[in-house]
């Protein structure tokens, strides 16, 4: 009795066959275990079908002869006599319900007949042994299948995550988190259900049908034909109802989607709702959506849950028909007792035959859901990962006595680009300095829409380059290109004279420090979060970095200082504090190039001024790209680029830009025109 599966998306897999094939491919890893599972299932269903069949054997081969023996030896009981006379309903009812216990006691004690139940008991013991073996094999297959399904899910999860981490930023930018998340939750859940329930049940159902059919034929060919003839009624009914309930579930799903969307949006914006006294309107809007979920849900659930009673009672009616025909056949048969015993064994077999068929019909939905889920999982796994054709690596370096740069395992604090040249097989080393050059760079997130046009700029090591411009001018895009979150469509970006496409992405990114617009902290302590910048950083290095970012003071005031746990994206810190931590995280990484994207937007100017003091020290000898709305934060840059619609319209240092009296001047003086 699985819990009712409500609120599930009813989605059809696009290519069921191919997905199933891949799924089986996944399970191939556990081939030997699966063979064991199948063998155990076969044995266990065999036992249960055979058990039912053998009961008939027990009656026919052991009990009936004894019965005849007894009847010959001590004669008929009162009851039997009564039956023989066929007095009709009254007597028969009295007999079977009130029971002939007294009579039996009397005749048992009076008889000289002493039947030998030995063989019968032996037979039962044999049957019992078989049952135990059957239960054991059920245990074995349950357990093995559980191991296989958990291992498969574990592998699927890890594969998904590992693959996901290697996907390009573009993938994440184009999808909502919820969309990707549901691969790990809903889709994996349907897969789990498939592996742990639907799959073994399908196998067991199939063999149940085969074995039941086998014994049914052995017991009575005619009755088997009858059972088969009655089957289509069940199948057609199941199919019809299934189709209806599928349609209704889709409708319910849609209504639930609308309602949940509304709940999410309204509660996210609850503060605004209250500030605008919009509560009554919200309640009314909610009630409408809520009611349509109820209407759709009632339909869907009714359809889904009438399937059970229908199947049950259809099978009862089938049962009666078979029993009727069976009894008539038995009455007309020369060996009535034998035929009746066969009927008794046959009847449960019809259940054992029809139940797996209706089971399979009901499992069909689960299988479809699982396939649709797996398809989405495979879709993620099939996404092309970030390609990396770079071959220039970042290595620790030092200068030898001749002043040449050589590679060294020592921590010299000096880094170099190791550049192998394929043509002549030589390797050259270029010191990592932080020289960045854009040459006629053109870029668009989609080919049809260019965001940056012909951008050229250079940043000498140690220079601070600032980007200024309104929202959507392309400032953030530029930083996305330096670290190759996105690849440019035209032009070249050179880093220390090397085309960045030749540099291994990891090494390129390692050489760049970033503090991003949206600060993201991870679950863990403050210390761990700062250490994210450099995994082998010592505690001293962490504290030093925090001091540079001016975060040390507030960290020390947290309940557990550097060991304070941060949860839910650092929700227990203020926005400003989180940014300070993000800056500390970049500081501990100690990269030659820093990218600060509005890194200080939520820090008030006073605090920012304090950070800047630290940052000045940090920035010394580093190339810095800074993006900010506030012009005050970019003033001391060596070069300021004013961007508009993806084009650099002005460049120069603060003074020269003011002299130009262009856009920058307007922006800057606009700031003061009111005073």
């Amino acid at each position: 009795m699985p819990p009712p599966r409500g609120m599930r998306p009813v989605a059809k897999p696009k290519n069921a066959k191919a997905t199933l094939g891949r799924l089986l491919q996944y399970m191939k890893l556990y081939k030997s275990k699966l063979i064991l599972v199948a063998a155990c299932i076969v044995f266990s269903t065999f036992v249960s079908a055979t058990g039912t069949y053998l009961i008939k054997q027990a009656v026919v081969s052991y009990l009936n002869p004894l019965l005849l023996e007894r009847q010959a030896a001590v004669g008929l009981t009162e009851e039997e006599k009564a039956l023989k006379e066929a007095t009709g309903e009254e007597a028969a009812e009295g007999d079977s319900l009130a029971g002939g216990a007294d009579v039996s006691a009397a005749s048992e004690s009076a008889g000289e007949f002493n039947p030998d139940f030995g063989p019968f008991v032996k037979f039962l013991i044999l049957l019992g042994t078989m049952y135990v073996a059957g239960a054991l094999s059920t245990l074995v297959y349950n357990r093995t299948m559980m191991m296989v399904s958990t291992a498969t899910l574990n592998k699927v999860r890890k594969d998904m995550f590992t693959h996901m981490e290697d996907l390009p930023i573009r993938y994440f930018d184009q999808r909502t988190h919820g969309e990707i998340m549901s691969r790990y939750t809903n889709d994996t859940d349907t897969l789990r259900e498939f592996l742990s329930q639907a799959f073994p049940q399908a196998v067991s159902s199939f063999f149940s049908i085969v074995f039941s059919l086998f014994y049914m034929v052995r017991l009575s060919g005619w009755l088997t034909l009858l059972v088969l003839a009655l089957m289509p009624v069940m199948l057609i009914t199941t199919g019809k109802i299934g189709k209806h309930s599928g349609k209704n579930f889709a409708a319910q799903q849609k209504a639930v989607g609308v309602l949940n969307g509304y709940i999410e949006e309204t509660i996210e914006g609850q503060r605004v709702v209250q500030v605008f006294c919009h509560e009554e309107k919200a309640k009314a809007d909610f009630a409408v959506r809520n009611e349509s979920v109820r209407v759709a849900g009632t339909r869907a659930n009714t359809f889904a849950s009438i399937l059970g009673p229908i199947m049950n009672n259809l099978s009862h009616i089938n049962y009666v028909i078979i029993a009727l025909v069976g009894v008539i056949l038995a009455l007309n048969s020369p060996d009535t007792k034998g035929a009746l015993a066969a009927l008794i064994a046959f009847l449960p077999l019809t259940h054992q035959f029809s139940q797996p068929i209706s089971n399979l019909a009901q499992q069909f939905n689960v299988v479809m859901l699982a396939l649709a889920g797996s398809e989405r999982i495979f879709e993620l796994l099939d996404e092309p990962v970030e390609t990396d054709d770079g071959y220039v690596k970042l290595v620790r370096a030092k200068k030898d006595e001749h002043g040449n740069i050589i590679e060294t395992p020592e921590r010299t604090g000096m880094w170099a680009w190791k550049h192998p040249h394929k043509a002549d097989g030589t390797v050259t080393y270029t010191e990592l300095r932080g020289d960045v050059v854009f040459e006629h760079v053109t870029f668009g997130y989609v080919p049809e829409k260019t965001v940056l046009h012909d951008i050229s700029l250079y940043a000498k090591p140690g220079q601070k380059i600032a980007f200024v411009g309104s929202t959507g001018a392309g400032k953030t895009t530029i930083t996305n290109l330096i670290n190759r979150f996105y690849d440019i469509q035209g032009g070249k970006i050179r880093y220390d004279g090397i085309n960045i496409e030749k540099i291994k992405k990891d090494d390129l990114r390692r050489s760049l420090g970033m503090v991003l617009q949206d600060t993201h902290l991870f679950t863990g302590t403050v210390k761990e979060n700062i250490r994210y910048g450099k995994l082998d950083a010592t505690d001293e290095e962490i504290v030093r970095a925090a001091r540079i970012a001016n975060a040390d003071f507030f960290i020390r005031h947290l309940p557990d200082g550097y060991d304070t746990m941060l949860t839910g994206d650092g929700a227990n810190l203020s926005q400003g504090q989180r940014q300070l931590l993000a800056i500390a995280r970049a500081a501990v990484a100690d990269p030659p190039v820093l990218i600060l994207d509005e890194a200080t937007s939520s820090i008030d100017t006073r605090t920012e001024a304090l950070i800047e003091k630290g940052m000045d020290g940090l920035m010394k000898g580093r190339t810095v790209f800074v993006i900010a709305h506030r012009l005050s934060t970019v003033r001391n840059s060596q070069a300021i680029m004013v961007l508009e619609n993806g084009v650099i319209i002005e460049r120069g240092d603060h003074a020269s830009l003011l002299e130009q009296k262009g856009k920058y001047y307007q922006l800057y003086t606009g700031m003061f025109e009111l005073s």
């Binding site: 009961i55 559980m146 849900g297 929202t471 991003l516 995994l535 006073r606 700031m671």
Partner: protein, 573 residues
């Protein structure tokens, strides 16, 4: 926390939920009579075919009755269950609408959403199952037992052994498995949380080249999940084989006992068959009871989370005889102290005394954590003051009807939210009856009219959920326009133009002055230029008023102000 406690929220659907078990009794009764009929069918070995037909016919009738009851039961359960969840959701949603900011802070929005969706679903599914199954198990148990006793009372000996055996087995398994499943659920949540975190922070992961580190972390928690899952499932695995074994054992025992009787002619095959069927049912009903119990217990967490929402007392409510008119936009802070926790020793705002005249423009400036937002949140009574008094229009704000007060105090929050729907629909939040001209005028004042007109659909453009179709600066301007439409007596802008460029920012402030000269305007800003033209500027530091005066006065006497000013114009001055 009990599931039954929630049933009172079913309201008009309660009758369906109550009727359903009654109908189910009919279904179960029929279902359990059928084996008896079948037994007679087979027992009538020496009777005529007409007798067989009679019992066969009865069986079919019973099956049809059972079908009718079953379908009716399914309908009643669905109707009642969905009705309950509808009413429960509505009650919760309405309750959330009564929540104050403090209530929301306590729950967090994400958890409120989960409670309204996932938890209500869980309860609904459990209830739908319960009303259909709750009577099924005990009635099947009782009826099956009754028939065994009537048919062959001595056969019930088998049950005397089997029932305690099965019950003990079930209890042992459940006891062992339950805590293990709880651990598993926690690991599962943790795993999902780490995926979520990686999705949000993917740029950080990539920028710091930490993918392999994250992969290791994930692999470790995935392995942990698998290990705990296996530990839990290994226990539950025993359920199936145990049931199988006990059931088959019963069959063997009955064959053994019944076989003798059969030979002695005191038991017929049909009865033997019926006894086996009924004993199987007794055992199944026990199994069903254990399932019911499990789902009942599993729903407990959801029930508790739902009840928490329902029982949460809204912090802020209107007084019994509220004042509904706000005279003017004057504001008076009278020794106001405030703490989010209500703890008077740990105040966020300390002893604030301010007197603001109606129509004044007030700038607020201060460092991170100086409680600027907190200060202004008190004015529309989003939070209640911890000590002191706050007066608007000459009256303590606690005397006002809460909606009357908030209608007169417009606030553009730091965290701006737009809703799905067209721009116009969003703007009408400010004033439902606003004409198109009024809307356009407000948008011009908020410097939003130009960009709105540049959209192909203009004011009818759909904003998408959370206003994803506009940029940050545009969003802020729409939010300002929305607040302007309220024509409030007090207008609060909490860093509401941070993403707007400086020139536009200045234009908006200019427009505000001409658009609503009577309105008191309070502007919180990081940029000193946004506040320096205000009538008076409030300098906050660590929850205390450091100074309050005009730009010139402050330049002269406030060191903090001077510091901020110079830090922002170094290079020009």
């Amino acid at each position: 926390m009990k599931l039954t406690k929630l049933l009172r929220y079913a309201g008009e659907y309660k009758k369906y939920l109550l009727l359903c078990p009654l109908v189910m009794i009919g279904e179960v009764a029929m279902e359990n009579l059928i084996p008896l009929m079948v037994a007679k069918l087979i027992n009538e070995e020496s009777a005529e075919v007409s007798q067989v037909l009679k019992y066969g016919g009865l069986t079919v009738l019973m099956a049809l009755a059972s079908l009718a009851f079953g379908m009716l039961g399914a309908y009643l359960a669905s109707k009642g269950g969905m009705g309950l969840s509808r009413n429960l959701r509505r009650t919760m949603f309405d309750q959330v609408q009564r929540f104050s900011f403090k209530n929301i802070d306590r729950f967090s929005t994400a958890s409120l959403v989960t409670r309204l969706t996932t938890d209500v679903n869980q309860v609904q599914n459990t209830v739908m199952m319960l009303v259909r199954m709750a009577v099924r198990a005990p009635i099947t148990f009782a009826m099956a037992l009754f028939f065994i006793l009537r048919l062959k009372p001595d056969m019930s000996v088998v049950l005397l052994v089997a029932i305690p055996l099965l019950a003990t087995g079930i209890i042992i398994i459940m006891r062992a498995a339950f805590p293990k499943f709880q651990i598993m659920m926690k690991k599962y949540d943790a795993l999902n949380a780490s995926v979520q975190e990686n999705l949000i922070g993917i740029r950080v992961v990539k920028a710091f080249v930490r993918a392999s580190h994250e992969k290791e972390k994930f692999a470790a928690s995935a392995d942990e999940l698998t290990a705990t899952q296996r530990a839990a499932e290994k226990v539950v695995l025993w359920n199936g084989p145990m049931m199988q074994l006990i059931m088959n054992g019963c069959i063997l025992a009955i064959l053994l006992l019944g076989g003798r009787k059969y030979v002695w002619g005191t038991m017929q095959l049909g009865d033997l068959n019926a006894v086996i069927t009924y004993i199987t049912r007794v055992l199944f009903s026990l199994m069903m009871l254990s399932f019911l119990f499990i789902s009942f217990v599993l729903s407990r967490a959801s029930v508790a989370r739902i009840t928490e929402v329902l029982e949460e007392e809204p912090e802020i409510t209107s007084p019994d005889q509220p004042v509904t008119q706000v005279r003017d936009g004057s504001i008076e802070f009278d020794h106001v102290g405030f703490s989010y926790t209500g703890d008077k020793d740990n105040l966020v705002l300390t002893d604030i005394c301010l007197s603001i005249r109606s129509g004044e423009t007030i700038g607020v400036i201060g460092g991170t954590g100086s409680a600027k937002t907190t200060l202004v949140s008190l004015i529309p009574r989003l939070y209640d003051v911890t000590s002191g008094r706050l007066l608007v229009g000459g009256r303590d704000i606690k005397e006002y009807d809460i909606h009357a007060l908030r209608d007169q105090v417009a606030m553009v929050l730091q965290k701006n939210v737009l809703f799905s729907g067209s721009i116009k629909e969003n703007l009408r939040w400010g004033n439902e009856n606003a004409t198109d001209e009024e809307i356009a005028a407000a948008c011009r004042a908020a410097a939003a009219d130009d960009f709105i007109r540049s959209f192909p659909e203009g004011y009818d453009m759909d904003l998408g959920q959370g206003g994803v179709n506009v940029s940050g600066g545009q969003k802020q301007r729409l939010c300002i326009a929305r607040a302007l439409l309220k024509k409030p007596r007090i207008m609060i802008l909490d860093d509401a133009t941070s993403a707007v460029d400086t020139a536009t920012d200045a234009r908006i402030r200019d427009a505000l002055r001409t658009f609503m000269p009577e309105t008191t305007k309070i502007i919180i800003a990081q940029r000193i230029t946004s506040v320096m033209d205000a009538d008076r500027i409030l300098v906050l530091d660590e929850g205390r008023v450091m100074d309050f005066g005009t730009h010139d006065e402050l330049m002269e006497r406030s060191e903090i102000y001077r510091e901020v000013f110079t830090s922002q114009q170094k290079g020009v001055a």
